[in-house]
């Protein structure tokens, strides 16, 4: 009764840098994924749709072990696009860093 309202049934856990004492280890240059205000995904400047993005991230994961990606969403983009990328990264267990849109 009491705890049902306190539990969010489905959630994405965000690993925030302020929380951990160990800074995230980045051995290789992270792949940058930027999201434009309309929700279009770009990897290193190349335009992709969500399915290709999924495949590309999967390929990144198979490349190395200490991989990380940076996600740079436009501040006005609808949040579900960012969550979609976070979800893919979560599924493939890739470390993500949220950065500012350039």
């Amino acid at each position: 009764m009491l705890t049902s309202s306190l539990i969010i049934p489905n959630a994405l856990n965000l690993k925030l840098p302020g929380k951990s004492r160990v800074p995230p280890s980045v051995t290789q240059k992270p792949t940058n994924i930027s999201i434009s205000s309309s929700g279009t995904y770009y990897i290193n400047g190349k335009k992709l749709n969500l399915a290709s993005l999924d495949k590309a991230i999967k390929r990144i994961k198979s490349d190395g072990r200490d991989v990380s990606i940076t996600i740079a969403p436009h501040p006005k983009v609808a949040n579900e696009h960012v969550v979609a990328v976070l979800d893919i990264a979560f599924r493939y267990r890739i470390e993500t860093v949220l950065t500012d849109y350039r």
Binding site: S5, I7, L14, L16, L98
Partner: protein, 131 residues
């Protein structure tokens, strides 16, 4: 004399009515708790993590923001979270749940993430399972 006098008062009582009331209460609370629904579309995710939360910030496309169920302005939320955080017991595992409706701009979510980061709290983004 046919009947013997019974001086003993029976000390037992039947529990059946008590259990009836308990079940009624249980069903009542189950129904009312399910009525407090988040009737908004959340971004979809495969994540099945069930996460307990301490603070809930909900944002809808019409621009309304609620903090723990009560309408609040975004500028007030930071100080509210700070106050509640400083008075809570289990600060190490403090978690903010960000419930953002589909269509809410990312910068609003980012604002809450930054508040959470500054206070060294965990943040989770509420999602719904894919159809």
């Amino acid at each position: 004399m046919g009947m013997q006098k019974r001086n003993k008062v029976s000390a037992e009582f039947s529990m059946s009515s008590l259990t009836d009331i308990i079940f009624l209460l249980l069903i009542f609370f189950m129904l009312t708790s399910s009525l407090v629904q988040i009737n908004v579309q959340l971004p979809e995710s495969d994540s099945k993590t069930i996460a307990p939360t301490d603070f809930t910030v909900m944002m809808t496309v019409d621009g309304k923001t609620t903090y723990n169920g009560k309408i609040a302005k975004v500028s007030e939320i930071k100080s509210k979270i700070q106050t509640d955080f400083s008075t809570m017991d289990n600060q190490k595992n403090a978690t903010i749940a960000i419930v953002a409706e589909v269509g809410v701009p990312w910068q609003k979510v980012n604002q809450i993430i930054e508040i959470s980061n500054a206070l060294k709290m965990r943040a989770i983004i509420a999602t719904q399972p894919r159809n």
